[in-house]
Symmetry: C2
Subunit: 243 residues, 2 copies
Amino acid sequence: MLSPTSPLVRKLSTFVALPSGDLELLAGFHRRRRTFMSGSEIISEGEKRQCAYILAKGWACSFKIQPDGRRQVVDFQIPGDFLGLRSLLFRTSDHSAEAVTDIEASEVLIGDVLDAFSRAPRLATAVLWAASRDEAMVVEHLVNIGRRSAEQRLAHILLEMDARLKLVGLSDTDGYAFPLTQFHLADLLGLTAVHVNRIIRLLREKNLVHIQHRRVKFLNREGLIALAAFDGAYLDQDGPMLP
Amino acid sequence: MLSPTSPLVRKLSTFVALPSGDLELLAGFHRRRRTFMSGSEIISEGEKRQCAYILAKGWACSFKIQPDGRRQVVDFQIPGDFLGLRSLLFRTSDHSAEAVTDIEASEVLIGDVLDAFSRAPRLATAVLWAASRDEAMVVEHLVNIGRRSAEQRLAHILLEMDARLKLVGLSDTDGYAFPLTQFHLADLLGLTAVHVNRIIRLLREKNLVHIQHRRVKFLNREGLIALAAFDGAYLDQDGPMLP
DNA sequence: CGGCCTCTTGAGACAGTTCAACCTATGTGG
DNA sequence: CCACATAGGTTGAACTGTCTCAAGAGGCCG
């Protein structure tokens, strides 16, 4: 049985109040528990009819590889996030995903989704909301790369992850545990790892954030927010719920 | 009554065969027809509880504006596409949208969606698919900006629009009608209009494509595909349907 | 006819890349 | 518990794709 504070339930409950029947249906999604070792590939671009996962523990990342070997990270997934929802619905998966840390996840099949949608339409809307929120994050990453400086990009993603981690109770007041390497950040921000390193130093020298020892520690959150022009409205996680 | 060749039906039918009951429900979505003049704003970032639209005729574009006035276009919408689906589900809209040409669209309210989902779960899955396809396009635009050269970016978007227009019957063998300015392209590709202009010239001089007089005309499609490393799998519009 | 978009081209500046070297943790096998 | 391997992080110097600013040309509409 799914505990009421499971990250996914916590996230969806920000959107709509789900009746207990829907919650039980959601619990059924957690039947097939899987574990993956750090670095292992979970979803593979180009493969047909893949399944999806709900991440329960650890960080993952979804990405696309270019023919020349360069890679673009699309997003990082934290507990409560879907992993590979698009590859569940598409004929062939349009992206790959791998475990950043050791992770635990629940396998979801297309049948589970069809079944749940027909029995709980409110849940269908909640899942569409979660998928739309994922899209909103990708959109913000697009703005990041397209129209912000390297410094702003880094500041922005640090603030986004903070807000997302808070929603599932994984962020403290001063910062959070942060398992990403500078290569991960570079591939998300459309930069090189060398340049990310220089920007990290810059933000440290400005006494805005420290990124050290697998931790992000905010020294001047207001300053960071101003620098990145961060507005978390796209995460749609504040304010009153849908009636 | 909705004609069976409406762009939206045509698009969704690529994914699943919808029973006639679902098609009638879908037709109900087209009750409230609206028209917008070229240049007018249809969705506004920051506004609460906006409605969404299904585009029937013309081109639109969705975008986000930065505090410094620079703008990032997220995607262009063509007939059959949703417009502002995220602003329908979110507390406040995370993006804006405007009409590129004069357009015709049908207004969709949140109640329509909830109602349709509870009566036609298969339709819910089809809508989730369409939303996921929109996300896949944004992801590809992210890869475009993050990891491709200006030349590749432009080639890629021209090929994407060709495939998308083909799906709704708006592309000829040699090219298609193209209402975008170089400013639109610049804002989508994360470049300046000046640089887009130089790249357009480059592709013309290489005898790959002509972009002139509001038309895209392919001269060497294979060459363009190779240049951009274009693989349309992310559009999920080829191959057998979902059973 | 004049005004305003849109497109075009040039020259200099700069943010971020590339390549290369070196440093520092952390873990592993002997 | 040391020796070594390896992944990740740090820094410098030269290079380049794209931007910025600037000025002008073409075409459409009132």
